[in-house]
Symmetry: C2
Subunit: 509 residues, 2 copies
């Protein structure tokens, strides 16, 4: 850690520095607590563990201690993970990928509200979630007058800092001090009927300020840390991901050739994970150039594109880098300034901006059905995986959206293409293009029946195609007056039930 | 009809006046045809019937004659109806409520693309639907230079007139000439990356022009008519609708009291039909005043509110009045000028505006499930009813949304609350409040499990509650590691199957 409190130049807030356990003592049973953090970046790294200890001690004394936990999106084992292990969370929103927390949601212990990320801040302002008692927000530095240099994500921090009764700041010396100037925090959003247009017409336009603000009088504690972000490992694309990427790149090339988009495309949004990184690698290897991203997360693949010049610049709300990516970013941080901008997730995912800019959205899925409905969140209809995140914000308002997935999971036991999805996150009205390693189904302007043929023939694993076609044909034949979206209701979800019963959706195992 | 061509003051276009059959002869097999019309208002009244005759004659000669039919939304028996009866439609978008057309969609003859109304125009510009060969658009009058006074709906007319290769205009003398000044047609929308903010911050603000424009060189025919709009009958609220309305009004009153919205609420959107009209009647009988509507359709109920002063003004894209409503509107038309504004459906339903203005959305549904997913379009999962229309545009981006329905249909044989909906149009992430005659379920900030309790207890018909609770409890018990949204997949759709098999969802018949 650098010299004590070297990053706290506000004299008032310097007096509030204390150890994490003293800060955690200011959080009470029943509080709603809004913490920073998005894709494992910029979450508080000391207070959650201290709070875990406080909760555990209370539980050992036979006392109740549970909080409502609100975040930007996913955090890390030392935030969501420790609080879940303390059994100290009653409700959780708006997105989670922590396995310990997920298990408690799926066991019924934690009530999870899975919200569109562009909605979470405004639903809090609207009073839909109740009062926010405490904000715990990681920052890079504290300037005089309550100005805060944000850290590696912005997420919902503006809202938590504004709305909370009490604020705890974590100043993380591990975050590069050079972050100052990488952020654009918009303070113009009002409540209806006082809202104004968002005057942003280019992804890299600044419409806000480089700092978060906090009322110093609300800051009850400042804790100093020196710990790295979660930094999930990043693996090189496998053959399946590379094949998916090839289909996407070829399709984009054809769209440009058909005159449906400019040569440097339109702003790109890319979900996280290896398939998304493979698509970025595919774009980097292509002759596309001068691209721009309007997205949620800067992952390793985007650094490649920025370095090669394929990507001119990227607007997001968070980093989501590997250890290697972080090292690389920190080494060349001055070269990225002005080419990377982090915004509040309310703005990075805003429907108004996504539609205006004409974003090309690329997101993963868990399963799609033959008629083009997409499930992004639920395993076999009941268990949550992570949450809808920003996929709905982007896909619903995009110029063009892609949903990307390997055609099978669990070594072929699960088909990603099913007769009927077991949960719908993106409706048939909203899905443009589905891609697997086998091919790409362009669903634009097609009726449900026409979509079925295309999805089965282009995307399904060949081993599942005959059964999918057989279902489609029998559904068509069964009710001659119900052929808009023909389904056999007593069989529509039988693939999932078979998986639960036998460990495979197929009948040939 | 008034004096011949008295409403065509453009000398060039006066030379293009011809009978409907001569105009219909300019439409060819295979053409995509974009017609005017929204909620049975402002559709062409002569050319479709003439085209029906042309199609029928071709079919009798053994020749193929089918068109792609694009509209604003629903039209009427003498537009959708006659073309369906001629078996002359291959594809249809974006919304239909004509029973003859519906039967052909459900028989598999017509390919139907059920699109969000805020998307239909832009997806056409983006090239997703292919080329538009002909536009057939009803207008009130033709001014010099290709300026057109729109009629009782605007819908997608701007787009059809701009994009079509050939244009046929129907000048309808039945439409009041006083319509001039009732419209605001926005001509500022560009394709990405050239889009600008929509600078509208108040529902009644004018951002466009009172006229549609057409290039006179593209106008191949002008047909004069003198026929009334469809004008569906309007019935007074029954006890069920009145009970639903009471719950909504009480809830809004409580929201104001809780400080979550202003005393004159926020802009209202209201779907069509008797439940919607009942809610309007409920608002009219309440002490709410100075309200404003930002909606799709002006129906009879809105005239009541405008007359009483409960409603200050209304922005929409169309009228949807009864015969009585039309007579009343025409009698006092000058009093409504400046208080009613019709816009393109791209603008009336625009996500950017719906979110900015903070619209309160009220729409019907076919069924909702215990976890808050809503089906607005499909009967028993397979057969289309009408289409999603604007419900997704409004609900997804609203400040607050309501979904309204009687708790049962078909004399109690169908429960509007089911274990799992057979089709999803509005996902669990997007549904705020469900209302039946029994009560109101406020789902904001609730997990799926908490929603289930509330929906069953507040909204379900008491006769179906035990079976719904039993399902919920058995689903909870079945898989202790899958309790986020517990479902029994082999039973989830069994209520629908039972209805198909026995004529009732209940087991007590």
């Amino acid at each position: 850690m650098e010299g004590m409190s070297s990053r706290i130049s506000c004299p008032t807030l310097r007096t509030r520095v204390m150890p994490a356990d003293a800060a955690a003592a200011l959080i009470e049973n029943g509080d709603n607590v809004g913490i920073s953090g998005f894709t494992g970046a910029g979450y508080p790294k000391a207070v959650p563990t201290a709070l875990h200890d406080r909760m555990t001690a209370a539980h050992e004394r036979g006392e109740e201690f549970r909080i409502g936990l609100w975040t930007g999106a996913s955090t890390a084992p030392d935030a969501d993970g420790v609080l879940a292990r303390a059994h100290g969370v009653g409700t959780r929103l708006p997105y989670n990928s922590d396995p310990t927390m997920r298990a408690l949601i799926n066991s019924g212990e934690v009530d999870y509200i899975d919200a569109h990320l562009s909605h979470s801040a405004q639903h809090m302002w609207f009073g839909f979630y109740g009062r926010l008692d405490v904000a715990v927000v990681e920052v890079t530095a504290i300037l005089p007058g309550g100005l805060l240099v944000p850290s590696s994500s912005v997420g919902n921090n503006k809202t938590w800092l504004e709305q909370a009764d009490r604020v705890i700041l974590e100043v993380n010396h591990w975050q590069p001090r050079e972050f100052e100037g990488f952020h654009d925090v918009y303070y113009g959003t009002a409540l209806p009927p006082h809202r104004r247009p968002l005057e942003l017409t280019e992804p890299m336009q600044r419409i806000g300020e480089p700092y978060l603000r906090v009322d110093p009088a609300k800051v009850v504690a400042v804790v100093e840390t020196d710990r790295a972000d979660r930094n999930s490992p990043f693996s090189a694309p496998d053959a399946t991901s590379a094949a998916i990427a090839e289909h996407v790149v070829a399709f984009l090339r054809a769209e440009v050739a058909a005159g449906r988009m400019p040569e440097n495309l339109l702003p790109l949004q890319s979900g996280v994970g290896n398939v998304a990184n493979a698509v970025l690698a595919g774009l980097d290897a292509s002759d596309f150039t001068d691209l721009v991203a309007f997205t949620e997360v800067i992952q390793d693949g985007m650094l490649d594109l920025l370095d090669s010049g394929t990507l001119r610049a990227a607007s997001a709300t968070s980093f989501g880098l590997s250890d290697v990516g972080v090292a690389r970013f920190m080494e060349n941080i001055s070269a990225y300034k002005g080419r990377i901008l982090l915004r509040s997730e309310e703005i990075s995912n805003h429907p108004e901006l996504v539609r205006r800019l004409g974003v090309i959205a690329m997101n993963g899925l868990l399963e799609a059905d033959i008629y083009g409905n997409v499930n992004s969140t639920h395993v076999m209809g009941s268990a949550i995986m992570n949450g809808i995140g920003g996929s709905g914000d982007f896909a619903r308002n995009a110029f063009l959206n892609f949903f990307l997935t390997p055609s099978t999971a669990k070594n072929g036991a699960i088909s990603a293409i099913v007769p009927m999805v077991s949960h719908v996150d993106h409706t048939e009205h909203d899905v443009h293009v589905i891609v697997t390693e086998h091919g790409l189904a362009d669903l634009r302007g097609l009726s449900p029946r026409a979509r079925a043929v295309r999805i089965i023939e282009q995307c399904a694993d060949p081993r599942f195609r005959p059964a999918l076609l057989d279902y489609t044909e029998r559904a068509w034949a069964q009710r001659p007056d119900a052929r808009h979206t023909p389904h056999l209701l007593d069989e529509a979800l039988s693939w999932h039930q078979r998986y639960l019963d036998t460990g495979s959706m197929g009948t040939d195992h």
